[in-house]
Symmetry: C2
Subunit: 467 residues, 2 copies
Amino acid sequence: MSDFLGALHERLGEAGLLVGGDLAAYENDWRKRYAGKALAVARPASTEEVAAVMRLCHEHRMPVVPQGGNTGLVGGSTPDDSGRQLVLNLARMKRVRSIDVVNASLTAEAGCVLADVQAAAAQAGLLFPLSLAAEGSCTLGGNLATNAGGTQVLRYGNARDLCLGLEVVTATGEIWHGLSGLRKDNTGYDLRDLFIGSEGTLGVITAATMKLHPQPRERLTALAACASLDAAVALLGLARERAGDALTGFEVMNRASLALVARELPQLAQPLPAAEWTVLLELSDAESAEHARAVFEGLLEAGLERGSVQDAAIAQNIQQAKAFWHLRESIPLAQAQAGLNIKHDISLPVSAIAGFVAETDAALAAYLSGIEVIDFGHLGDGNLHYNVQAPAGVDPAGFLLAHEAAINELVYDAVQRRGGSISAEHGIGRLKREELAARKDPTALALMRAIKRALDPLDLLNPARVL
Amino acid sequence: MSDFLGALHERLGEAGLLVGGDLAAYENDWRKRYAGKALAVARPASTEEVAAVMRLCHEHRMPVVPQGGNTGLVGGSTPDDSGRQLVLNLARMKRVRSIDVVNASLTAEAGCVLADVQAAAAQAGLLFPLSLAAEGSCTLGGNLATNAGGTQVLRYGNARDLCLGLEVVTATGEIWHGLSGLRKDNTGYDLRDLFIGSEGTLGVITAATMKLHPQPRERLTALAACASLDAAVALLGLARERAGDALTGFEVMNRASLALVARELPQLAQPLPAAEWTVLLELSDAESAEHARAVFEGLLEAGLERGSVQDAAIAQNIQQAKAFWHLRESIPLAQAQAGLNIKHDISLPVSAIAGFVAETDAALAAYLSGIEVIDFGHLGDGNLHYNVQAPAGVDPAGFLLAHEAAINELVYDAVQRRGGSISAEHGIGRLKREELAARKDPTALALMRAIKRALDPLDLLNPARVL
């Protein structure tokens, strides 16, 4: 064992350091696009241990890959294949440290699984609204490092918007004690938001204080069929106007998305006949079930009258509401069953979305006949998962090899022309690093590089990710 | 004229550069605590001109003080008395560049007065909720540079929370084109939030894209009398539970605040009998006037039943609502009339506020008999303006000279013990620079200094402010 590993072992003990053996769960990413080889896996149990790891890494010039639940989609949390990078896994730091009901806040460690944070808040009678498909295994630290989004962003914001304060270990192993239950604090630069979304390249988040919200009295879910994306955007405007902040979900699924689910997961009921676009709406009401239902019925009737809605169904009970959501959340699974595809996690101004989709659908059809666009996502946030699938009968792996670069260019060029983002909620990691370098504003890139050099001059923290 | 001023004059023209003459409006701060002397005042009319100014400043190593409406309270936007600092006033850049109704966003230049941004949004049928006492003269750029708060933060957040994208000129005169109408964008470090709140020390904000919100159907205002701050906190919890996000204002005023207003501004009607604490509540309803009133009445009745409210009055019309708000907003004016006082713009976890006030009121009374605490602010955000006034008959100026340092120490120590902030919404500027150096987490200070060095290595941007 090297001096470095020996020193780590001495500091972290048997449970805190994995060397050799089967480390595959720590070395490979969730989508299986990156197969890595770690020097070792450090599993510190406390902030002080994280700081000790970083001090040793700094002393020995060892690169570090911070890791939470390892559910990321861009290769940001697994080591490269050099066998020289230390994985710093935070799973053992999973304590909810405190809940302050009157202040509506909660402090938890980075390795706390998102579902456990949600459960702790619920037990205190409050809501932690961050919610996404991986919530059973992703961790709070990873959610913050990637500024995770999910299905409740429309009303409650992304991970950044829910965070009040952070505890962070720096590249040199110093601890920033920035946990805070404050709603307002203008004492200097916004370090919190700099670390949030930096994907482990500027520091290691070890704990966070998060905002909680009141539990709504009633939550209602509906499906609405729309003849076009323009109609869905009109329905969004109507819903905002009538329901205000009670509108907590507005998800769209194109015809191909639900057809794919019908093919791959035929056991799932589809309550509405197939439509060009199906919208899933969620309303969270502070008053009562009756009030929620009246608002929802009024909204959908107005949508029918104005022609933005063709057909609609309100879930009659919790089981049905869950089934509606399950339909939406099953699209990625149906895609995984159907084989590899080219994913785009893009955002646009809401006013530009319909034009983008029409133009890009047409351009893709012209590029390759029979190509399928599985298009779904969070319309209220301007965020689409615009995924491109091989024509029926074409081998997905071969399709990716032949067409991924050209299709990415086609899609990202169209996004850029309309002022959009090539990564709305998944981050950059390794997957989009070159796209970022090519497409981001050059002054922004220069500023980012200057900040990286200032906070991690030896380039030890998640090197070759993001920048 | 020096080479530098000659080059500036050539680039900016007659209207763009003021040298000599009466520059007092640019040199002195709003509270008249700092009297400065500027080298000159640059008044660029475009982003390109701001960039040219910064390139010249960089070339000639000239320090720059960015300035908007110059309404700040901490001496951050006026030059020191050396006569060597260039004031970079953005008032000529006051265009609303565009409004996107479907995307609910607006892009305006830094020098746009806040009230004009509000008016442009209203004209498009939407709401720009940032609202504060100086809104008739403060500017959007200054609001962002200081992360301004105000009376609608409880529901809509501070300036940071309302910002989608920025255009910024760097210390070397590069332009970052970061205007964006996107709700979600995870492409690299959060430069936007780094510039927001950095008080002109990292770059010059020249334009911003801001979020707009639907106009509420109805806005209702009420006053409630509470026997204690604990009772007011209980009422806040009740209001959140019952009104959810419809609760857009929750301001508190202690007995001394309203007594001061009665003394200094006797023409203002005070609808409720004097109470230990008076709460101003605002409800914004997406549905109807009837619905808003029913929610408000239900809430106040529940408050009366549970004993958290002693007495209450709902405004019967817009005039009355304005009068209620005017009462709250007149406290600073009444203070100014009464003479100098020691201001503290602090925040605490909501759960810690009542304890802090009880302890600190008592400590101040013990420190100096007859001392008066004018305590008011945004309870929903945990933000109090905890201002200390000389005992009756004591000369305010002499009182400040003799006691300001000791009283600041007493108050800030108590804030720090309870995890609070010494600047909730006013920023640091020159006024709190030493306090920040003494009280901020040392790792945070080191990180801030590293970022400052990285983005402004020659220390030309608002030097000796914040850090």
